[in-house]
Amino acid sequence: MEWETVIGLEVHAQLATRSKIFSGAATAYGAEPNTQACAIDLGLPGVLPVLNREAVRMAVKFGLAIGARIAPTSVFARKNYFYPDLPKGYQISQYDLPVVATGQMTITVDGALKTIGITRAHLEEDAGKSLHEDFHGSTGIDLNRAGTPLLEIVSEPDLRSAKEAVAYMKKLHALVRYLEICDGNMQEGSFRCDANVSVRRKGESRFGTRAEIKNLNSFRFVERAINFEVERQIELIEGGGAVVQETRLYDSVKDETRSMRSKEEANDYRYFPDPDLLPLEIGAALIDEVRATLPELPDAKQQRFRSDYALSDYDAEVLTATRELADFYEAVVRSANCDAKLCANWVMGDLSAALNEANLEITASRVDADRLAGLLQRIADDTISGKLAKQVFETMWQEGATADAIIEREGLRQITDSSAIEAIIDRIMADNPGQLAQYRAGKDKLFGFFVGQAMKATQGKANPQQLNELLKRKLDA
């Protein structure tokens, strides 16, 4: 039996505003519990919400970036349910009139392009956190996160595999960071998703019954949770059972999804328009103003990297993964003013490896773009070989000095003077008459021996190409 997987994602992106969506309290992560919750966040009697303008601008920015319609009027609604970390007993969200409607995004999976529909994106407030450890059987409540602005981005059920889901989520992740509307920190929960997963027989036009997997906060978990869930559903149906509509949790330790609550136990959220907030009106002026702040988006940048720098699809994709990396790369190219491919190789190779090893972001690189460009210039003008450059780079990474200073100090300047190289070759030939005789008798493999001797004599500084040519000419003479 052939099965088809159908997935829709609801991504929650925490908006990078300084204050909360309906109060003036700060949103910074990691503060002492309950130190960033004001009377409004606590839901004290008599308090009222006032909408954060910046959160609206960010939602509009996102809408424009995915080519969506920005609703001229959208409405905040109350989603009512009781939970200890939901102070008011309702969450202010948007229901039937969201701020962003119907956009789309293109993903690439296994070389194929696919357009994923985005049904809507709406503004809402986050809840607080329930802490179950350290309270001796009781539960602690931290309301620092309560009222943090979220943009919930809902996709159409257009995704057909875990791989596509991850590609879509990564693309979205890159986009919100490009737009600087979300820090994208998944560990801190700034970017997380719920996955609606169902399966159906190939060719079937109706959707199967779906399960919703809640709160996935890494790309790996998205992939594994979906794959597990798909297997589970197929096994269930093939075993004669039926999938029930329910909410499930992914356990990353056991790598499985577990039922959380069924449809019957589901809350009736009793949505209704929040009478404390007026309908949100967005005019053309605001839209134009926000449009003017849109940066070059990942797809456009990738395209430009391919044409301007003659990069491969792969290189262009890697280098535009984040705005910071792309900016760094372009700074290197500008400053080095040499082969853009060489620059790409170094940014994606040695620099990325060093960053990974030190667990640093590109913006915190110990070798900045100008210095890396300085090194690449020395490769381009044959001052040092690529091999020595790696050594120089390591020293730069450790010490922070410029390439030129290190080359100078350690005398690493490449020997490109033909007569100097020839003199060295002559000496080596004279010192090793036996090997020379064997070589000339046909033992070609000994060529490497002479190269090694020459490199040893020059401490690796001889221009390799030149050395090869001269050596060949003299040995074969």
Binding site: P45, N80, G89, R270
Partner: protein, 484 residues
């Protein structure tokens, strides 16, 4: 001194005939004497009041006093007061002390008014008789066997009994006007959005509006001047200049077009009230007003629409009282569910629970369209009725309530009968219009109120009409026996 109006007291203070301290002491003494029999106050803030009075006297002496500097007023216990308990008439908030002042409270403080205390009310403003208060019912000073009306019953009774020169009230379906009518005082519910709701504990957010209650329209004008105005902390407050209400009192009523909705004078209105009202309308006519019969055809739908919208909003607004962060919490909860059920079950009274249940039902999946959405449509129809009426007339006049104050227990067993006591006031809240109640006589020994309804932001005109009427009548000067 206690028989003087706010306007007279303000003049006395400025002329130095007495100090704010003396004035405050007079009222505190009266509260001590008379309030045990009336139960108007939940909390008396004597020490704070005396300190504020001294500060006001200093301001008066320094010559930077405003019209209300040194005037004692009292706050309905629905307005949050920093450091002073705000109970909202409920066991749920019996121990709640807000860390902030409501905007209304803050404005009175800035004006230099002296707060005497917090006034009794129906629990969470849900009631028309003050019988739902956790702190026991307020007694009507005109007949202590009768209710003072509600929910601002403590405010109305305290003003009538001269236990404060002025009080704040809130009006969601008639909660300023109906008790003002029952207690023979003057009260105005401003246009929705005119007075900030920040710090005013919500019952039904789209209907709640704070306003002044005092003996005269002039006093209401002085108080409203302080209360009204834009507040960026309340997204529903309207950014629109506040007119000089007192200056507007001098306007003429000549040529004023008064509309009498036939729906207000039909079946269900007490005959004696109709007679008293007719006399009041004749007075207005003598002042030069013209009278026109109008129709508000959808009036009959206002009570059912209100009892969907208000409970729906209340069911959500009151969800925060869950025993987790503040307010009443049950003893030794077994688990979370038990904590919720018993904290709310024990902390709320019967009427509040009834409305939470009605509202929860009305918003439930499958019922939303039939109830909430339908009620919102009716609300639109009612607003349209008023809009059309105000194309023909300047002010709408009618009864405030279908009866005078009723006996304790008379309607507690029948919620519908209780709900119908707001039949003439509710439509005004649904439309968001300003409405006012003015004392215009008596039925037996109990006061009768006349309701004036104005167009949006036309408070100045309502106050003007009421003031002109009060200049040629003296109902507002009458005091209940033993309170003069």
């Amino acid at each position: 001194m206690h028989n003087s109006t706010i306007a007279q007291l303000a003049e006395g203070l400025r002329a130095g005939r007495f100090s704010s301290l003396e004035l405050t002491q007079v009222f505190l003494q009266r509260i001590g004497q008379l309030d045990p029999g009336l139960n108007c106050y939940v909390t008396v803030t004597a020490e704070q009041a005396l300190a504020e009075a001294r500060a006001a006297d200093a301001r008066l002496a320094a010559g930077n006093a405003g019209p209300l500097t040194g005037i004692p007023i009292s706050q309905k216990d629905i307005f949050c007061t920093q450091g002073v308990r705000t109970s909202c008439g409920s066991r749920m908030l019996d121990s709640f002390v807000a860390p902030y002042d409501a905007t209304v409270v803050e404005r009175f403080k800035q004006a230099g008014a002296v707060m005497l205390g917090k006034l009794n009310m129906d629990e969470f403003a849900m009631g028309s008789s003050n019988e739902t208060s956790f702190y026991g019912p307020v007694r009507n000073p005109w007949d202590t066997g009768c209710v003072p009306g509600g929910s601002s019953g403590g405010s109305a009774a305290a003003v009538a009994a001269r236990l404060t020169p002025g009080a704040t009230g809130t009006d969601t379906g008639g909660s300023i006007r109906q008790p003002a009518s029952f207690c023979g005082i003057t009260g105005i519910k401003p246009t929705y959005g005119r007075v900030s709701r920040w710090g005013m504990i919500a019952f039904a957010s789209s209907l709640d509006q704070g306003g002044p209650m005092a003996r005269t329209a002039e006093d209401c004008a002085l108080m409203l001047q302080v209360m009204a105005g834009f507040d960026e902390r309340d997204s529903t407050s309207v950014d629109r200049p506040v007119p000089d209400y007192r200056a507007a009192l001098g306007g003429s009523v000549e040529g004023l077009r008064i509309g009498l909705p036939k729906e207000f004078f039909g079946e269900g209105l007490d005959g004696e009230i109709a007679t008293v009202l007719q006399q009041a309308i004749d007075e207005l006519r003598k002042l030069g007003a013209t009278v026109h019969e109008i129709s508000l055809p959808n009036m009959g739908l206002s009570v059912p629409a209100y009892y969907v919208v208000a409970p729906a909003e209340c069911s959500s607004n009151l969800a925060r009282y869950d025993g987790v962060r503040f307010g009443y919490r049950c003893e030794a909860p077994k688990d979370l569910h038990d904590l919720y059920c018993r904290s709310r079950g024990e902390g709320f009274g019967a009427e509040v629970k009834r409305r939470i249940l009605i509202g929860t039902y009305a918003l439930s999946a499958g019922y939303y369209d039939a109830y909430y959405l339908k009620a919102q449509k009716i609300r639109r129809l009612i607003s349209d009725d008023f809009r059309k009426a105000f194309e023909q007339v300047d002010v709408i006049v009618g009864p405030t309530a279908p009866s005078v104050a009723f006996k304790f227990g008379e309607k507690t067993a029948d919620p519908i009968a209780m709900y119908l006591s707001d039949i003439y006031t509710i439509a005004v809240n649904l439309a968001g219009l300003p409405g006012m109640s003015v004392p215009v006589g008596f039925s037996g020994q109990l006061p009768v109120g006349m309701q004036l309804i104005g167009n949006y932001f036309d408070e100045a005109r309502l106050l003007n009409v009421a003031h002109r009427y009060q200049q040629v009548t003296d109902w507002q000067t009458r005091a209940p026996e033993g309170c003069a």
